[in-house]
Amino acid sequence: MPVRSTAWLSPPGVLLAVLGVASLLAPYMTLAANRIVAGEGFKAWQVAGAEFTAPGMLAVAIGLLLGLLPRWHWLRLTGAALGLAGMAWLLSHGAPALLDGAGDYARVSPGAGFWCLLVILALLMADALTHLSPGPLARIGLLLLVLLLMAILLNSGALAQLSILQEYASRKAAFTDATWRHLGLAFGSLAMATAIGVPLGILAYRRERLRKAILPVLSFLQTIPSLAMFGIMIPLLGWFVSVFPGAKAIGIAGVGFAPAFLALVLYSLLPVAGNVVAGLQSTPASAIEAARGMGMSAGQRLLRIELPLGLPVILAGLRIALVQNIGLAVIAGLIGGGGYGAFVFQGLNQTATDLILLGALPTVALALLAAMGMDVIVELTRATPEETS
């Protein structure tokens, strides 16, 4: 497919460069008198003295310019990374300069221009990466490298004066708690859904009538809006507790963790069970025939042929369920189930932007991380049978 390799410039690169320059004209950082009021915007070249802003802006400009290249995608990738480094540099030098003499309660935050530029450079990176199409192991390496750099940047204290990190600093313990709670909700419900959904999917694969009855019910469950589902779980579990008093002793209650957990399990059943059915159905008829010819029993065929061959599809279902659970676990914050959602809704109540971000940004990061990680795992399981065949 000749994708105009003769072009002088990369068309996406041109679009992103134009958008990038436009977003430099938007406020890069904002300075507010306290954590509630709206701030005053400062453009990238106004956030600090020229000796600090010039190198940062230069790095961003080089990144956008290198993005214009129609080939040499390694160079485009490096350029985008350089641009991101420039952005971090601007933030770390802008924060103390803006806060200087602004009062004890003053807060600096990244502004609209920062967020737009961040998205643009990330897209530039993604565009370069799609052309390089690294293998699964290279992707894991790259992901770990990015995580490491982020960890170093956040731990170095260079950004510690930013508003969202101040918000974090004042609730470190609560944040750690929320993280574990969020992970517990997302991964715990996935484990539970796998324990139920995989046998259910195998049964549904074997019996057509069961399949025709179960899958539509599960997809209707999936359409119920999350808030309604979480809400309906409360009286349901409350009733359960009142009927089985023993349930309360093991920590099940009408509000909090239990209803959120249950709602997430119900939502993940469709992707898990549905993909088990789809994965098992994707086994080539010739493979089953051969197994039957070798005298394998139905159980042996399932364990040695159908499940291994269907594994990539089954894992893809787990990926969908996990990413979905990480997002939906935010709603748990509304019914006292904890997790990052608690920060989001507390922040919405107090109109405290930083608190909203403190809940929303880790959720997004976690979802992206889970998606990329699971993609690699799916690809690794997919690669093996092809190599041996």
């Binding site: 609209a112 309906i232 019914i335 909203i356 929303a360």
Partner: protein, 254 residues
């Protein structure tokens, strides 16, 4: 089949009764209300909340459909093909963004009210439609395309008379996914002061009034299930009309 139709009609009637005559159900919700608390939500009429909920979803989904299909047409033309890998990446990564987080992130940018909800619904709604429109437009049967070229149709005629109609069932699947997500996200929109049915659930959660929670949850749930079902029926009808052969295979892939 007849049983299904009967069941569907019953659910529609139940939903209408719940929305228009909520007081008919006082007996059903009373056991869940706290002592001497209200049983039926009366701060706003359920009908007006339903209408504003649905119009928010309709507006966002219509805008998302128009923009997403236009963009998908652009990137599947030869001139826009350079943007295809990038747009695939955007849809893949974008859909891992939790809808709630998109809503929460819209608030700092746009403030409270229906505005951020509408923008979040629109932005998030773009992705499934765009993805399916690209799939639909780029997996058309080559023989049909060849035939269209053979009988001398121009680019424009091919797009309007062959490509879009053939891709429509797949696009519709994307619209259905998008509408279902929008209905759910609009419910949460009431936490940012958009007036939607989520208001009833939230009010119930805040005052420990399970009757409100059930009432709001039931209405929203019924709306979602019935709209989903109606769109599925529409898809089945359309693919049947287009000839089950090619489009059936396309729809199952999406």
């Amino acid at each position: 089949m007849k049983l299904a139709a009967l069941f569907r009609t019953a659910l529609v009637l139940l939903l209408l009764a719940l929305v228009i005559k909520p007081t008919w159900f006082t007996w059903a919700f009373a056991p869940f209300a706290p002592d001497n608390g209200a049983v039926i939500y009366e701060r706003a009429s359920l009908l007006s909340l339903s209408l504003s909920h649905l119009s928010l979803v309709a507006l966002a989904s219509t805008a998302a459909t128009l923009v997403a299909v236009t963009l998908a047409i652009l990137v599947t033309r030869p001139a826009g093909s350079a943007f295809l890998p990038l747009s695939r990446t955007i849809t893949n990564m974008g859909q891992t963004f939790p809808p709630v987080a998109v809503l929460a992130l819209a608030v700092p940018a746009l403030g409270f009210g229906a505005g951020p909800t509408l923008v979040a619904l629109f932005l998030y709604g773009l992705l499934p439609i765009f993805e399916n429109a690209i799939t639909g437009l780029s997996t058309l049967p080559p023989a049909t395309m060849e035939a269209a070229r053979g009988i001398g149709l121009s680019h424009r005629q091919r797009l309007l008379r062959v490509e879009l109609p053939l891709a429509f069932p797949v696009i519709l699947t994307g619209i259905r996914l998008s509408v279902v997500i929008a209905l759910g996200t609009a419910t949460i929109g009431s936490t940012v002061a958009a007036s939607t049915l989520g208001e009833v659930i939230i009010a119930g959660l805040l005052t420990n009034n399970t009757a409100f929670v059930l009432q709001g949850g039931l209405i929203v749930g019924l709306f979602a299930v019935l709209i989903y079902d109606a769109l599925v029926q529409l898809e089945v009808y359309l693919s049947r009309r287009l000839g089950a052969g090619s489009s059936g295979a396309l729809a199952s892939k999406a």
